[in-house]
């Protein structure tokens, strides 16, 4: 074994070592001195000259680095931490080094290589070293920690596999045994599903093999078929809840909305008021889209059918969009979880139709408060600050390497996510309109492209459908993976070349290997044809995988193509040129439309496509809503006592920020004048509102050269510090046509702890998403949206009731705004069980609040008309569009200032769309200098953000604000989060014209202030320098 260490030469700065010192300090472990070295382990017989060549020409840059063969000695008083990947975990650096050594030394086969990091630190106790290693330097789910230089005698390699066909005796099992098998084999199938499988095998008179059972479990998993959202539902409402939410501020009726259930598609209202819905998703989200298409929306190209939704961009191109969650893996290994989340979503876009080129990514995270004390983090969970830092790094390293700009996102903080962080990854692609549809044909070859198959990611699909417990980190570490972006980039380069071959692409259909691996990809593509697969043909990372492991592995960076025989040589040539591995696994089309699986000639599985795709029993789900029924706040969860994290109490911001001070001071005084300065600063400092520049600037949002409206806007040293409502790119440079991306996330409106209603939450989220897009000049009649539900367990009827209401909101909202849903995804069972390690009793169940992310894609007809939110010039007038109501329920100010209960805001489905059209018209006419939506924190926060964006110390801009015309109650006027509102900056000449235009459309619009050159934000009860507000806003997440 050759060990080579590479480190910074004496006297050359080592920023990684400085970062380790900072990490130590953040753990309360002051490090006196730190140094870092990269460790390369090369298992090959090399001459000294070869080792020198490798070290000096490949591994080290002699100008600034020195290298050592073997382990350099440890200095006295210093401790060593070495971090190496666990066996089988993806090590992209090792792959690069292997190939480069082969190239450099002209070897026939590359040597085995592994890489690691060595940290030498002084000044810490043994305990301090351990803390640093476990909390900052390594994650034991994927890495091994060594407290001395580690040079193994050999690198791990697999042992040969010999076929052993395994059958499960299932036919004689009773219910108890079926349930036990489902759990112990990690199938996560329900009892009725297990019974259906047993009955099927009884009927065909044999026992299933393991691979058949696994295939059914993958295909029937919540992750793959969305059985909850597609299930039959019986929904009932308890008595109206009313009095409890009547607060002092503006609430005349109960917290929830009255929904009219009659007349909805596929909804049957029984005499007792119960509502039955035969397929929730089809009858709400999808129904809205199909009704809109029937009613003149003629620009969708593919909805709900493919890996992503596609809409028309112009005559030649379509744009596709997909958003996925990767919550479970990110909870255990945030870096790899987020990276493979974005990697998978990118593959969904690549694998849409006959192939799309990814053009932008988005990311939205929801985590617990960053200042959560370490001892309050439940066992089995990572600290939220670490989770956030690492998910950002994961998205950064994957997206940047792929060359896809990450242009839009959001981060919300809520302590109920301590065990269930949410990681939403989105991707947009550009696809020729004549390449939107693919269809495999009988006789086409099943071709796998890209990464090799390993044991990584086994059971990801079933794991993502289960709830988390504190033992999951150990039990499911094999479901966690590290991605290799360059592998995926090579696959993309090869696919785009194969797609653009004339006269037709070199393949007839394509899909990515996501959850379920080959089993899902081949099963989906062959559902109408059948397929025969020879599993030993799949290239493996190491020997020893069983046929079942090959079939269900979710190893990353793989695509499956259906390739006509005569096009295979051309595809092989392209793949060879791009360095992409290709393997022919089998053929599509079998006589009986079956899935036939073989290993070295032996049949190991045979399943009918009918059973796979239509055999899943769909039980009726019970759903309730009403008085005393609180979703997301369970009582005893089956066993033992339980306690939920309390919403309402807010999320801890920065420990020393003004946020806590306001919380302690409680409500505002009963009578005005109220000082608005402290609450405004507290809002700006709340991590949910505070600037995300620390995240944004780690992403390459400029690559591909199309960024027109960036995530940060306005003038500034680094190029803008104001928050953008949405981002705009010009995907085909020179056309002047743009794509805008934005999102809406209104968890507060649906928050069970604030008397919220998921129906209203869905409406508010769609409204917010539309506003964000309209603010940058998207055409509101060309907005497509996506739904991503993240829910607590839907086995609880209360949570299912919340889901039914959210879906009703999706239907009503999409129709009112004429924004078709084109794709979506759900992640259910987001709850965390803390168990007592001794007794196994559930001590605590933490459910997340029902969360619905709406992502929107809007077409911008002319990018030169784009508007940004940064305030432009003194003398211009500020107009507030939309009505301000006294509903403070679920708002940031309610949480921060401890205000009493209040109704959550309603979205007016006439006024909201009218306001969007009116604002869009004014922007298209060139009358608007800047536009910003009012969301978290209300008008005052919106105006403060516009000033922070537009004002600089050299050219200050300030504003004098009078909100009395917006609402009589100054607290409401300043901080209410009423939907459908915008702040527009217009020249004083244009103000009357813009006002008249919106008033004609029946939309309230009032003048709320004027910009000046003071550099101060002034109103009754408020006089603050913009630079002070900027500090409050920029500081909390400036990590």
């Amino acid at each position: 074994m050759v060990r080579i260490e590479v480190r910074a030469r004496e006297g050359v700065t080592d920023p990684r070592a400085d970062a380790v010192v900072r990490q130590g300090a953040s753990l309360g472990q002051p490090i006196a001195r730190a140094s870092t070295a990269r460790v390369y382990l090369i298992e090959a017989a090399l001459t000294d000259a070869q080792v020198r060549l490798i070290a000096e020409r490949l591994l080290a840059a002699p100008v600034v680095e020195s290298w050592t063969r073997g382990a350099s000695p440890t200095r006295s008083g210093e401790a060593v931490v070495e971090v190496h990947p666990l066996p089988g975990v993806m090590d992209p650096a090792a792959q690069s080094v292997r190939e480069a050594i082969r190239d450099l030394l002209s070897l026939d086969a590359p040597p085995a290589v592994s890489t690691g990091w060595r940290y030498d630190v002084s000044g810490l106790t043994d305990e301090g070293v351990r803390l640093l290693a476990e909390r900052q330097l390594a994650n034991r789910a994927v890495q091994a920690i060594h407290l001395a230089p580690w040079t193994p005698a050999s690198l791990p390699r697999g042992t040969a596999y010999r076929l052993r066909l395994t059958r499960f005796p299932l036919r004689e099992l009773d219910d108890g045994a079926l349930e036990r098998l489902s759990r112990e084999a990690h199938l996560f199938l329900s009892l009725p599903e297990m019974r259906a499988i047993r009955d099927h095998y009884r009927s065909i008179g044999r026992e299933p093999t393991d691979i058949e059972l696994e295939t059914l479990a993958q295909t029937w998993s919540e992750h793959c078929v969305h059985k909850t959202l597609k299930s039959r539902v019986r929904y009932s409402e308890a008595a109206k809840r009313d009095s409890e939410t009547r607060g002092e501020r503006g609430s005349e009726s109960g917290g929830g909305a009255e929904i009219r259930w009659e007349g909805r598609p596929g909804h049957v209202v029984r005499d007792d008021g119960t509502v039955e819905i035969d397929n929730l998703l089809k009858r709400t989200v999808a129904a809205a889209t199909h009704e809109l298409i029937g009613d003149g929306v003629d620009w969708t190209l593919s909805v709900f059918k493919d890996n992503s939704g596609v809409v028309a961009f112009d005559e030649r191109w379509g744009v596709c969009v997909k958003v996925e969650t990767h919550n479970r893996p990110s909870a255990i290994e945030p870096y790899g979880g987020a990276a493979t989340g974005i990697g998978g979503c990118i593959r969904d876009v690549i694998g849409t139709g006959l192939g799309a080129k990814p053009i932008a990514s988005t990311d939205v995270f929801v985590v617990a408060g960053p200042a959560t004390p370490a001892d309050e983090v439940p066992p089995g969970c990572l600290h939220p600050r670490r989770v956030l830092t690492e998910v950002v790094a994961g998205v950064r390293d994957y997206g940047n390497r792929m060359g896809i700009p990450t242009i839009s996102g959001a981060v919300h903080f809520d302590d109920r996510h301590v065990g269930n962080p949410l990681v939403f990854c989105g991707c947009l692609g550009l696809i020729p309109r004549d390449r939107v549809r693919g269809q495999a044909r009988a006789g086409d070859l099943i071709v796998a492209l890209g990464g090799r198959t390993g044991r990584d990611g086994i059971h990801g699909a079933t794991f993502s459908s289960a709830e988390l417990t504190d033992t999951h980190a150990d039990e499911f570490s094999h479901a966690v993976q590290i991605g290799n972006a360059i592998e995926e980039k090579r696959v993309l380069d090869a696919i785009l070349r194969a797609r653009d071959e004339e006269p037709t692409p070199l393949y007839t259909a394509m899909t990515d290997c996501g959850a379920g691996g080959f089993s899902s990809a081949v099963g989906e593509m062959g559902s109408a044809l059948g397929a025969q697969v020879d599993l030993e043909r799949a290239p493996l990372k190491y020997a020893g995988l069983s046929y079942t492991e090959i079939w269900i592995s979710e190893a990353q960076e793989r695509m499956v193509l259906a390739v006509p025989r005569d096009r295979l040589p051309a595809l092989e040539r392209i793949c060879a040129e791009e360095g992409v591995e290709l393997a022919v696994l089998g053929t599509f089309g079998t006589p009986g439309r079956e899935l036939v699986l073989r290993y070295e000639g032996t049949e190991v599985g045979r399943l009918s496509m009918d059973l796979l795709h239509d055999g899943l029993p769909m039980p009726t789900k019970e759903a309730v809503w009403g008085d005393g029924v609180r979703p997301g706040q369970s009582g005893a969860a089956g066993q033992g006592s339980s306690e939920t994290a309390r919403p309402g109490e807010g999320t801890r911001g920065s420990a020393s920020g003004p946020c806590l001070a306001v919380s302690r001071s409680g409500c505002f005084p009963a009578t005005p004048p109220h000082s608005l300065t402290d609450p405004l600063k507290a809002l700006l400092s709340h991590p949910t509102i505070a600037s995300k520049h620390w995240i944004v600037r780690q992403y390459d949002h400029e690559v591909q050269g199309g960024s027109v409206v960036k995530p940060l806007v306005g003038p500034g040293r680094a190029g803008g510090r104001g928050p953008s409502d949405a981002s705009v790119i010009e995907p085909v440079p020179g056309t002047g046509r743009g794509v805008a991306v934005g999102c809406g996330l209104q968890t507060g409106v649906g928050d069970p702890g604030a008397g919220g209603d998921p129906y209203l939450m869905a409406l508010a989220a769609i409204d917010e998403c539309v506003r964000n897009l309209v603010c940058v000049a998207a055409d509101p009649s060309r907005i497509a949206i996506l739904d991503n539900f993240c829910w607590p367990s839907c086995e609880r009827p209360e949570n299912m009731g919340a889901l039914v209401r959210a879906c009703a909101g999706c239907y009503d909202g999409a129709k009112a705004y004429r924004t078709p849903f084109v794709s979506g995804k759900d992640s259910l069972n987001n709850q965390f069980k803390v168990t007592d390690p001794k007794t196994g009793r559930v001590e605590r169940l933490i459910e997340i609040p029902p969360t619905l992310l709406i992502t929107g894609l809007g077409i911008v007809p002319d990018v030169r008309r784009c508007v940004t939110s940064d305030a432009k010039a003194p003398g211009n007038v500020l107009l507030l569009v939309g009505e301000t109501t006294g509903d403070l329920g679920g708002s940031m100010i309610q949480r921060l200032a401890g205000l009493g209960p209040s109704r959550v805001p309603r979205t007016d489905l006439k006024q909201g769309p009218s306001a969007a059209r009116g604002v869009a018209d004014a922007i298209r006419a060139g009358l608007v200098r800047s536009a910003h939506d009012c969301s978290e924190g209300g008008v005052l926060v919106a105006v403060a953000e516009m000033l922070i964006g537009g004002s600089t110390p050299e050219r200050p801009i300030g504003a004098a604000i009078d909100l009395a015309r917006a609402h009589a109650d100054p607290i409401v006027a300043a901080f209410a989060e009423s939907p459908s509102r915008y702040v527009l900056e217009v020249s004083s000449d244009a103000a009357d014209h813009v006002t008249a235009g919106l008033a004609r459309a029946g939309v309230p619009i009032v003048r709320v202030g004027v910009l000046d050159g003071s550099g101060r934000l002034r109103a009754v009860g408020l006089d603050a320098p913009v630079e002070d507000l900027a500090r409050a806003w920029l500081g909390p997440l400036d990590w």
């Binding site: 700065t13 002699p62 100008v63 650096a93 690069s96 890489t115 060359g403 680094a718 190029g719």
Partner: protein, 266 residues
């Protein structure tokens, strides 16, 4: 026809915009994989301009541009040397700059000295981790150095603070010279072509871009190819019409090069 050879590899990801830059500047771009150029070095002989684009070549897992540079040094030196000696303008942007520095093409031999024939020059500079130890994307204020001999940046000196900016996005852009005195020597030779006004990555002398002694080989961390349209400027919505007149500074860099290439061809 001015032909621009743009060399890509696995992980290159700024190739399309670099091709567009050459095209808008009047050249005809030809995007070719490094393997192909190694197999057919004449492609370099046929080129009037050569571009090394940004990205994460081969993953940048060891260090940025390391494997790409190693392959160029080991397999392509005679052809690349030929192009440089004949005066073909060469640009390396971001990852491409990291490649050129590790190949030894930048800063290259002092004026009057020959390019070595058998092997590329020993590198004398390196681009290391930013002082922040992380990747950062920002639009930097830059100074186009008046005294520079760089042909790519001609006429851009004295641009105002608002339009005189370039987008920059990298984790390893801190320029370090191997020996003291190198920076001063390069400055006096006019080889420092571009400086950061806000030296956020900690480069020696705030240097953002270097050229060789002839001014025809140019490497820089910022991305001029991402600034070909005024609607890419970070606050273009507040620039007035006068400021947005004519070509962007990003495009002017490529126009300069195409003109320089034509003067060689003639």
């Amino acid at each position: 026809m001015t032909r621009a050879l743009v060399i890509r590899a696995a992980g290159t990801n700024c190739d399309a915009e670099l091709c567009r830059a050459f095209e808008m500047a009047g050249a005809s771009p030809d995007l070719v994989h490094l393997d192909r150029v190694i197999a057919e070095p004449r492609r370099m002989e046929d080129a009037d301009l050569i571009g090394f684009p940004g990205g994460f070549s081969y993953g940048d897992d060891i260090a940025s541009g390391r494997i790409f540079a190693m392959r160029v040094r080991e397999r392509l030196w005679p052809a690349l040397r030929g192009a440089v000696v004949r005066g073909c303008p060469v640009i390396g942007v971001c990852n491409g700059f990291q490649v050129l520095v590790q190949v030894g093409l930048l800063p290259g031999p002092a004026r009057g000295e020959e390019w070595p024939i058998d092997a590329p020059p020993t590198p004398t500079a390196a681009l290391c981790d930013n002082v922040s130890a992380r990747y950062e994307d920002r639009w930097c204020g830059v100074e186009f150095v008046r005294e520079s001999v760089c042909v790519w940046t001609r006429g851009l000196e004295g641009l105002g603070d608002e339009v005189g900016r370039l987008p920059s996005a990298h984790g390893e852009g801190r320029l370090v010279f191997g020996t003291p005195g190198t920076l001063a020597r390069l400055e006096s030779a006019g080889q420092v072509a571009l400086r950061y006004k806000d030296n956020y990555n900690g480069s020696e002398g705030a240097v953002a871009g270097l050229c060789d002694a002839t001014g025809r080989v140019f490497g820089l961390m910022p991305h001029p190819e991402r600034y070909l349209d005024w609607t890419r400027h970070p606050w273009w919505t507040r620039l007035d019409e006068g400021q947005r007149r004519g070509q962007t500074p990003g495009l002017r860099i490529f126009i300069n090069a195409v003109e320089a290439a034509r003067s060689v061809a003639v």
